[in-house]
């Protein structure tokens, strides 16, 4: 289990996360929701070790990590299969990666083209495949379904749900329906307004 305790993160002198406690089970999805600026992405980055906590601890997150970032973050000159294989063990064959990308709804002619030539939804599928085919025990999915059209969404969600099994997954989303479909426990990061009166 990954345990976040009293996590406090300041970025540029501004408090982004304040005394946050959160448990991520070894097998399960936790979805964090909240308005822009509530610290969802910062929480994901803290779990990945990309943001040092100002105070508090993240325990148990020192295992192998993977992520779908807010942006696709692909190697533009490499094709879809090569982008995914970049993070995999050498013995994972290209044909297996191609089959998984096809299962995610990527057309066959998109597999071996530089990703800079792919559409937004196709690129997102590559980023998702890269994160979930990697040997990782902790996966952070930061708005992973952005740019994926309604027709393909069900296919991608089903694939992601299967791939999430047996791992700690942090899903950052604005869409409660996606969280529900992945069977996630939902955590709301909406800040409590100081001095607010009922």
């Amino acid at each position: 289990m990954i345990a976040v305790r009293d996590l406090h993160v300041e970025l540029g002198g501004r408090t982004v996360l304040d005394d946050l406690d959160l448990d991520l089970p070894d097998d399960g999805v936790v979805a964090v929701m909240g308005p822009n600026g509530s610290g969802k992405t910062t929480l994901g980055r803290a779990l990945l070790g990309l943001v040092p906590p100002t105070a508090g601890t993240v325990e148990g997150a020192d295992e192998r990590c993977a992520a779908v970032f807010q942006e696709d973050r692909l190697c533009e000159h490499l094709d879809a299969v090569a982008n995914v294989r970049l993070v995999l063990r050498r013995d994972v064959p290209a044909c297996r990666v191609a089959a998984e990308l096809r299962a995610l709804g990527l057309p066959a002619d998109a597999l071996h083209r530089p990703v800079r030539e792919l559409s937004g939804g196709q690129r997102r599928r590559v980023a998702i495949a890269r994160a979930l085919l990697a040997e990782a025990t902790l996966v952070v999915l930061d708005e992973p379904f952005t740019g994926i059209d309604a027709d393909g969404r069900a296919t991608v969600l089903a694939w992601v749900a299967a791939a999430c099994r047996g791992r700690s997954v942090l899903l950052i989303t604005h869409d409660v329906a996606d969280a529900v479909r992945l069977g996630a426990r939902i955590v709301d990061l909406t800040p409590v307004l100081e001095g607010a009166a009922l």
Binding site: L50, C65, E71, C75, L86, R116
Partner: protein, 246 residues
């Protein structure tokens, strides 16, 4: 084509107006001299000797500049130590180096060392800039997924730095020729383009000066094209090419 004809006509008219072969030979005279020179075996050996030395200087300067930039990109101490020296080499007049290098090495190696010294700072600055301009987001991806260093080099680092390296090479080829021939003119190593240029000037054969200058320009342009064609085959993550100041 028409532009060439226009400038040949301007040249011819200027030569007629000046009326002195010593000051400005006519195009026909220069063409005739070129035709005579090009059939001499010594012409080709002269060109080959300068070409090999200047190419060697270009390769050495490019390699050293790249290695130093990579080291400076990895270790701040190296950068602190090396950058001022490379900056000084870049700012120093080429003739100062030629005179200084003449004290250290024989005239045969002069063009190699001087060309290398001129190319090195350009490559160093460009590659270091490329290292600094690598996509931070992709470096984070590599860190999160623990991508092995060699794979990261091939997929992220090298494609990001290559456009800068390529731009430096294009500038460096021209610089190598200019400085290499200047070194030959001053150091006078036997049987080189620079020495032939100097002899022509000494004997007041202006047509030969023009012919040898044209040979240098042609070789420099051909080398630039060759390097450009080779570099276009390399993969890059940036579709556009950055500018590099000589």
């Amino acid at each position: 084509m028409l532009v060439g004809v226009f400038w040949l006509a301007v040249w011819q008219l200027a030569a007629l107006a000046v009326g002195q072969r010593l000051l400005l030979p006519a195009p026909a005279e220069v063409g005739g001299r070129f035709a005579e020179l090009v059939v001499e075996p010594s012409f080709w050996s002269t060109v080959a000797r300068s070409l090999v030395r200047i190419a060697a200087g270009f390769v050495v300067g490019t390699l050293l500049g790249t290695l130093l930039a990579v080291a400076a990109g990895c270790w701040r101490t190296v950068r602190t130590l090396v950058s001022p020296v490379v900056g000084a080499v870049r700012a120093a007049p080429v003739v100062s180096f030629i005179v200084l290098v003449l004290v250290w090495v024989d005239t045969g190696r002069l063009a190699v060392v001087v060309s290398a010294l001129m190319v090195l700072p350009v490559t160093y600055a460009a590659v270091l800039e490329g290292i600094g301009q690598r996509d931070r987001a992709m470096l984070e991806v590599a860190a999160v997924f623990r991508v092995p260093r060699i794979r990261r080099l091939r997929a992220v680092d090298v494609p990001a730095v290559l456009p800068f390296f390529a731009a430096a090479c294009r500038v460096g080829v021209g610089l190598a020729w200019k400085s290499g021939v200047a070194a030959e003119v001053i150091g006078l190593p036997a049987g080189t383009v620079g020495a032939r240029l100097y002899d022509a000037k000494l004997l007041l054969v202006t047509a030969d000066v023009v012919v040898w200058t044209a040979v240098v320009v042609a070789l420099s342009l051909a080398a630039e094209r060759l390097v450009g064609a080779a570099l276009r085959r390399l993969p890059s993550s940036h579709p556009d090419h950055p500018e590099v100041a000589p």
